[in-house]
């Protein structure tokens, strides 16, 4: 197991995975886009504007999942000081920020035809904006705090503090009166979304996950090379 976690082995698998994901990505993208833009029906109430959901919802899911993952890794890193975890956190954070911003922007575009406004300071949108701020502070910490130990402590604190915001985002539509509609897809219990809309949604989610994996692997590979480059200078 320890041998598998060796940078040399990880690097070898990263190369293979990048090539594999690149080879299947465009096929899945084409299929997902066909479902999202052509085959899925318009909503009986929202019409064709519902197609924005196929970008907006997976983006929001990824942003929440990324931050939860970062927070859990931060706790592990804080406890066990595994150097690899820091690299993973550094590689995931920009992806999470990107998808948080995309969820906010596409949500805003969806809000105009649905609610008649681009922006409202309601609970869901505000808590998502706060999540974006957490991501920004986390990224800036790694960028500007030069002392490694200090940067790790600050980033762990930010990630754990930000974790409190995740259930607030999730349940904001139930706890407060918001413009935002309640969740249509539930992990426990029955979902209220029809399969003709669920299929493109899950396909787009899968494609965006593939994209995330590709960016993550490239960023992670860059971080490994950065470390190796530093070590080379010590020779």
């Amino acid at each position: 197991m320890i041998k598998l976690l060796n940078f040399n082995n990880i690097f070898f698998w990263i190369e293979k995975l990048i090539n594999f994901i690149s080879s299947i990505f465009f096929v899945f993208l084409l299929v997902a886009l066909s479902f999202a833009l052509i085959f899925s029906p318009p909503d009986y109430l929202q019409g064709d504007s519902v197609r924005i959901m196929y970008i907006h919802v997976p983006s929001a899911w990824i942003s929440l999942a990324s931050f939860t993952f970062i927070a859990l890794l931060s706790i592990l890193h804080f406890l066990f000081k595994i150097k690899n975890l820091k690299l993973v956190i550094k590689s995931i954070a920009p992806i999470g920020l990107m998808f948080t911003c995309l969820a906010l922007v596409t949500g805003s575009i969806w809000g105009q035809p649905t609610w008649g406004t681009w922006w409202a300071w309601d609970a869901r949108i505000t808590s998502m904006s706060i999540l974006a701020l957490f991501y920004i502070v986390l990224i800036l910490t790694y960028k500007f705090v030069s002392e490694e130990d200090k940067a790790n402590k600050i980033s762990s604190f930010i990630a754990i503090l930000g974790l409190i915001n995740i259930p607030i985002i999730k349940y904001s539509v139930e706890w407060w009166n918001t413009l935002h509609q309640p969740a249509s897809i539930k992990l426990s219990g029955s979902s209220t979304i029809h399969s003709s809309m669920l299929t493109p949604l899950l396909l787009m989610f899968f494609v965006l996950l593939l994209y995330c994996a590709l960016i993550f692997l490239m960023k992670y590979k860059t971080e490994i090379i950065r470390i190796k480059k530093k070590n080379l200078k010590r020779l």
Partner: protein, 77 residues
């Protein structure tokens, strides 16, 4: 039919702008990440090449990463 597809019953502007913004952002992030990776690979390979023959041999023998980066770099030039 194509016009209907593009207009999307009056929601075309909103739907297309959402998808286009997403693809532009994703494309730009991919491009920047790829460029940074290649820059680091290039610099790393260059630094290995600048080492003395003995040091270079030692690095390549001990690090699979160094040998992989070096081989992929030599393929691109």
């Amino acid at each position: 039919m194509i016009q209907n597809f593009l207009l999307m019953n009056g929601y075309g502007l909103f739907v297309w702008s959402s998808f286009i913004i997403t693809f532009i952002v994703c494309g730009l992030v991919y491009y920047k990440t790829y460029k940074t990776l290649k820059k680091y690979e290039r610099e790393f390979a260059k630094e290995i090449n600048e080492l003395s023959a003995e040091q270079k041999k030692l690095v390549v023998e001990n690090s699979k990463i160094a040998s992989q980066v070096l081989s992929s770099y030599s393929k691109t030039i």
